[in-house]
Symmetry: C2
Subunit: 345 residues, 2 copies
């Protein structure tokens, strides 16, 4: 009998479900906190107690009723999301009570799992929350989405939008590691100061207080733009286009400025720029490099250890604040990686 | 002494120069027909008598005062363009009077050349005008711009805009050779009939008489769109985006709907589609494959001989009609390759 129990059994499990499809920016009332009974463990199962929930811009897309690259969250369904937690009970010989694991069990305090998709973490190697950030999905997004699609070369100029976010802040630092000029676009002066003062970006600007993005980019990118890593879209991206160099590469990672629009707002079509500059724009989803994640995690961990990568977490305390945390991410409130820490942890 | 003369020396050379930068659609008055003396040949030079001038959409871009991938034509300067002609005099041992050559000597009846950039044609292998079409720049544009950027696979759906043009008509046929479903977009019912009736496109539609492009594309592309070869841009391209399949490829060859716009007209930004479909849009200029042109010419010639490729020429008689021919191309008057034949030939 491998069952073991380290703490008293919880009687109920609190979960956030999708209550309504948001119109524009999500409201707290679009989420509902519900209590569900916790089923008893069957053989092979583990009970997980959530410690951290990752809060990411892509979640907004899943709240629409439209299938994109993944199924949407249905009304009444558990909100999806990446999580780190502790094994609280185990009927699975591969897991011991107290093991720390990362998985994708969504917005809930507890989850029952058969162990598939769980990965054990070694807290002595890195803080466990890193598995949701620099060593997790955002880290892999930065590593593969930038290096594979942009193929940056030393001396090139790399522009990053959403540069103070979990992904963008890593992309700019990887650009520096690769010998590029890194220019960030962010939404507050404090973020701009963090990018240039702490992370080593060569330049950055606050798009909320800048009138003419093209003029500003021209000033900060005197050699033009070779790589553009786009988290934001909209007018910021429009302004990058006239400055593209020949054979420029645009990695389309996110379009956070557009996620709350019911239909795409009109803007500048990029084709004439792609044509005259023989340039390329490519969208990706990080899972396309799934089989290479070990390479990405190993490299990012090495750079972390060498002090070449810095990362910041913004932690919202208390599960009940998860909707507010997501709304904050969509409003650009976060610097670095946004996480929710569960009180029970 | 290698000099020889097959016909009486011309006294003057007629040329079209750029008279004014067009605002919107070029007018005939934006060109001026001038007479220039023909210099005597120096050693190593040949005198070329133009037989065919190629008229192509890209010429519109060169009439603006803006450097794109090539220098603009200055006011008062000879209009550029690809040409086929006969050697009328030769002081160059590599060329004999009567040789037929293809080159890039522009809108003029005669040209003096040192032989660089000239390529001899064998009239017994293909009609000499083919060097300006299926075996020339438009053919290479179709061959490399489609095959290299779209990498079509059998069973995929390929949509081509400007499908009845010199390039588009070849792209659809190459798509069929590669086992794809080819769907064309063109601007007259006669063009549509030509595409489906003679060239083997699986389907086509007239965008000028179609109200809802997305609905029409959905009907004609029941499996979605894997490759889009774009000559046109604008609303037609906007309509392709929602139908892209995962890992779709857009080859940006031309944007003829936009060439006469002083600034890009607002439209649908493609990024959210590229992102959710992990898709790619890439612009090119045919010269990037220059070192592989022999491969392209050989393959296109083989397909022509095998009857797998058909091509059509639309010939405007008389050099003085060259401006009208270019305006016609920009208005979509041509089916297949537009050429000007010189009366003196």
């Amino acid at each position: 009998m491998t069952a073991s129990t380290a703490s008293p059994l919880p009687s109920v499990n609190r979960q956030f479900i999708l209550a309504a499809r948001p119109v524009g920016m999500p409201k707290e009332s679009d989420f509902r906190l519900v209590s569900a009974p916790l089923p008893a463990l069957a053989s092979g199962q583990v009970l997980l107690r959530t410690v951290f929930l990752s809060v990411d811009p892509y979640m907004r897309g899943r709240m629409n009723g439209i299938r994109t690259y993944a199924d949407p969250v249905d009304i009444g369904q558990l909100m999806i999301g990446a999580t780190v937690g502790k094994v609280a009970q185990s009927q699975n010989p591969a897991f011991q009570v107290g093991d720390i694991v990362v998985g994708y069990w969504g917005w809930q305090e507890y989850a029952v799992s058969d162990g598939k998709g769980l990965q054990k973490l070694d807290p002595s190697l890195a803080p466990i929350s890193a598995a949701l950030g620099v060593l997790g999905m955002p880290g892999m997004t930065a590593y593969f989405g930038f290096l594979d699609i942009c193929q940056p070369k030393p001396g090139e100029t790399v522009v990053v939008s959403g540069a103070a976010g979990a992904v963008g802040s890593l992309v700019g630092q990887i650009a520096k590691i690769k010998g590029c000029r890194a220019v960030g676009i962010a939404g507050t002066d404090a973020k701009v100061a963090w990018l240039t003062g702490e992370l080593g970006f060569d330049a950055a600007f606050n798009y909320k207080t800048t009138e003419d993005y093209v003029a500003k980019l021209r000033e900060l990118c005197p050699q033009g733009i070779d790589c553009y890593f786009d988290n934001v879209g909209g007018a910021v991206t429009d302004a990058v286009l006239p400055l593209l160099n020949v054979r420029a590469r645009i990695s389309v990672c996110g379009q956070i400025s557009q996620y709350n629009s019911a239909k795409p707002e009109p803007g500048v079509r990029p084709y004439i720029f792609l044509l005259t500059k023989q340039s390329r724009a490519e969208g990706f989803i990080v899972s396309q490099w799934m089989d290479r994640f070990p390479e990405g995690v190993a490299q990012m961990a090495r750079w972390l250890k060498e002090g070449k990568l810095k990362h910041r977490e913004q932690i919202v305390e208390g599960f009940e604040n998860a909707p507010r945390a997501l709304i904050g991410v969509l409003q650009g409130d976060n610097t670095g990686k946004m996480l929710v820490r569960f009180a029970s942890s």
